[in-house]
Symmetry: D3
Subunit: 242 residues, 6 copies
């Protein structure tokens, strides 16, 4: 079976990372998974919210949003509607948990990192692109804080890297990194967040049209582990790491 | 290792289901997982929202909420804050997806089912208790619609049953059905939604304090499958089914 | 004239109070006036809001809400609508005033009591059931505070008990404790809040379909005073008081 | 006992009504109860909301609000806060019920009347001044509709007039029409809405500092009945009626 | 060409200022530009918002709003809609900037002035009437603060006066002070805010139906400068200044 | 006097326009004025809002927003705050008016164009860059509609082009196209919207620190007219027009 865009079932879309896209943020990356493009910025602030003060630990949080015309049909702005929708909330929380899964908040010290992931163009996989780009922005903001002495020179604030990919079963076949047209047809859809060393941070599988069994679950996890290993390599290259 | 409440690692808390608790709703259940108590009601309406009219399919949606003093510390009401929080949105969406995973909306016909799950008392596992109780309420509301001729006599609107349970790793040990005090200590926490016939509807695993590997994931899935099989039996008993 | 449920005009519906229904709250009661069921919880906090600090007086407030399917037709959630409605506001304020009418905030000391009244099932008289149940929850929360030394051993924080009942004129006949079907037909509808010693805290009479005269007003007040005397007895029994 | 403003206990403040103050509204009145000044406008629309169409009855509703600096200390605007407060809701509903108590919605036909009562200056009794002025605005808007043929020539849309006054017990003495400084000191405070023919539309008595007994209630009602009779005369004069 | 209300092209509508209309505010004015009537109040508070504390400068801000029936068709209240509209925001900000343009916040000292401009009746030019009336209210509130010693005796908090007027091109002719019926027909519409000494604070010209050229712009500015000079004279008379 | 970035007083920052940046929108442009970068998309919909149906005219509207970390300090999202701020509203309205100033809505026919201008990076002049880029996006969306037959082949929907620039007086010197650091220091600040043929659509001058006179106003207008002429040339180049 060949996919509409010519990829094999276990192949990622072309992934590019423009590190340092923003001249304002302490860390930033404009990441593309094919036509999906997400601008990730990391804002570093010395200090923590009031309820964390004096505990010696830092705080990492994330916010996700889509531009109104990032999609094929224009969506109303959540600011105009006056409320953040359930899907937006859910993805913002997922990104935050994924990043907190690899950060050592003790080593970070009393500093706050806010990661904004704004989808400029959407074609499936926006949340996984966001997590993958957010790590690059986070990495550079942590370095920014270290250079200015807000984080200890030897503190290992980032224990590992993190990336994410979507996988799904389309027409009975497990596939990696779904664009929009595959995503809507998937019987089962899964987002998997994996560390650079190959451990799971988050596994979210959903039966969209039919329940799935243990064999299918395993096939999807295999695909996701290999896809995130490739993403980890791309992140290291973007960051100039060995 | 013994648990604080004396259970073995693979044991559910005492589960009770008061079917038909509400005299107003078309289907209802007051379900308890230990001290966690959730009132589930199913509201049946003949007809569907405007955007679905004339398509011959039904609509199922769910809303989850917690009473302000269901928890140990009183929470502010979301109505007073003027916005529904991210966690509430996320769980409402999960319950809806879980129920839509076993319902045949074609067989349901142009009818709407709204499931409300209100947590009266919370001690961990509120979303899994909600899904498990919601199925009982849904079942009875579907019967109500069938008896009144809104659903065809032979239409198999419910393809299967559905229940859910939480599992997690505490002090390195995989455990079933976590109360609040275990939930906050879990290194990894997973909610698994399973059909009566044993297939997965949703798998949501989160590394709370440490990433998890494939072996741990498998151990947790095994526990969840056995726990939901037990819950499916309890549901059948409550419904007077063989 | 006989009523649809067989009661005489001056008879209450069956009233039950499950004291201590909640294992989380400092005081609680699940109260039923016939099919109307309200869960009342009292949350005790040592300390007062900022604007009251240092004045040596306590603070008592109440919030009322209905579950979406407590009624015959499902109502939208106020959290989802993003605003608390006028009726909800009005009843919350009434419950708060009723409780403040019997509490001595000086004797209470710098402590805060928040009473939540959530209607699980509605069949008329939800606000009067809420006030009557709220008193029981309040009583136990005050005792909880006293036992822990937050309130002085001899401080008489509760000067009296309080209960409430609805009365109305249906087909020209004054009746006590209206269920929903009588409530909608009432020409005049009145909610009366009375202390255990028989004094008025609140009298709210409304001409729904026809203005009322002084004679009718007096007949309704007589009914209400006798109904609340009976409720005060039921409260004392629930609390194990002589 | 003499009052701070020199009145006797059973005397109203100077009441003035500037009928037709607005050149935009179909009916309007700028009413003063002493320093309390409320601008009441009545907006007449031919037609009713969708849910009333085809039933042959009209609709009357009211909205109350205070200008931010109508009071001694500036209040935040409810538009800026993004929500209408409980007190505002409560008073808007009271005004609406009071007007619906004297209007025959069948005779009104399928027409809508919206009454706006905006407090320009507040010194106690704003809700009673609002009701009293609203009647004058309503009267003229009904006439406006009759002159244009929207209401039948002989239809008796207004069955009676309506006015309201506050009464309270201060230092043990029942007093009529409380200004702010008496209102805050009142042990018991009551707002009474009475028709031109002397029947009650609404009786709202609240024990602010001490419960009240039947004797006190009767004394307050006597005062209110005599005060509203005087207000009815002032309304007739303003309207040029005999 | 003559205008519908008989004025010449360079003539203001009748302007009246009732200084001190409010007995509650520190400064106030009820201003009329023809049928347009705006109640302006200035609230003086000793102290500044937290973010300005200790800087030795004051704060001046303004809020504009329209009563729902100030206009020919009733508008929904912004408090009921739960949000302040774009036009309201824009005008509030314009009034605030206009007043800050003539106040010396250093000389004002750590005091706050909030100016509320509520449109009681609207017939075009509400924002320019609001600015013109707001200055009178501001002037008196500053005097109030000076008399009580909150502002230094010799501090020149108000460097100048300020007033505003609308101008526009109707049927090719530049006209001063547009009522509603001219405003909607204007090809170009301009609001000009000018100090008592004739300098510009704000110039806002908008091509409503056709772009405008430099000659037209100059003609409009000439009209506006002469109109605001007249308004400055009226302000001085209202304030009893030479 | 030389400027911090080396420009002369009458020189624009480097301006770049990436036409067609979005693969989703019918028209789009990523425009840069120096470090200020705005993504403009134009969404074309066949049909108009209900209140315009059947009138034979189209509708053009615009929404402006800033990404939270487009600025030097991160701003809270308006979606999270639950309300659109005054500045955002004001700029959205300005962009909409500017575009409507050059579009012939009759020639557009019953079609709707929504222009979204999202600031990805901000360094002063975001509203003027937005208007200038919005025109390019609008142009291409109109062409898109014409190619698909939604707009008549010969209909001249765009009567002219439009661009905008900021001008201001810094240290007494009139300057063109202010970056952030000049903007905050400007005594007077002006945004001018000009058509390709040199007529004014909007002139908004504000005295930030000192009132301005007629001579200064004229100097600023001269600068703006020459700057927008240069922008019109850059727009034509981007669009491949002669």
């Amino acid at each position: 079976m060949t996919r509409a865009d010519g990829r094999t079932a276990d192949q990622l879309r072309p992934v590019t990372i423009e590190r340092g896209w923003s001249e304002q943020a302490e860390g930033s990356a404009l990441i593309s998974f094919g036509r999906t493009r997400v601008l990730c910025t990391a804002s570093f602030t010395n200090g923590v919210p009031r309820w964390l003060m004096g505990k010696g630990t830092g705080w990492v949080t994330a916010e996700y949003a889509m531009l109104p015309r990032s999609t094929n049909d224009r969506m109303d702005r959540e600011s105009v509607k006056g409320r953040v929708g359930g899907r937006t909330h859910e993805i913002s929380r997922l990104i935050g948990r994924s990043l907190r899964g690899i950060i050592d908040t003790k080593a970070l010290g009393e500093n706050t990192l806010v990661i904004d992931c704004d989808v400029l163009q959407a074609d499936g996989g926006t949340r996984t692109a966001a997590i993958t780009g957010a790590y690059v922005a986070l990495h550079d903001a942590v370095e920014w804080g270290r250079e200015r002495g807000f984080i200890g020179k030897k503190a290992l604030a980032l224990r590992d890297s993190v990336s994410a990919v979507s996988v799904g079963i389309i027409d009975g076949e497990p596939r990696l990194d779904l664009p929009y047209e595959e995503d809507v047809r998937a019987e089962t859809d899964m987002n998997v967040v994996v560390t650079g060393s190959g451990a799971f941070i988050e596994v979210q599988g959903t039966a969209e049209h039919a329940p799935f069994d243990r064999t299918e679950l395993n096939a999807l996890l295999d695909l996701a582990v290999s896809g995130t290993a490739e993403l980890a390599r791309i992140q290291r290259t973007a960051l100039g790491l060995p």
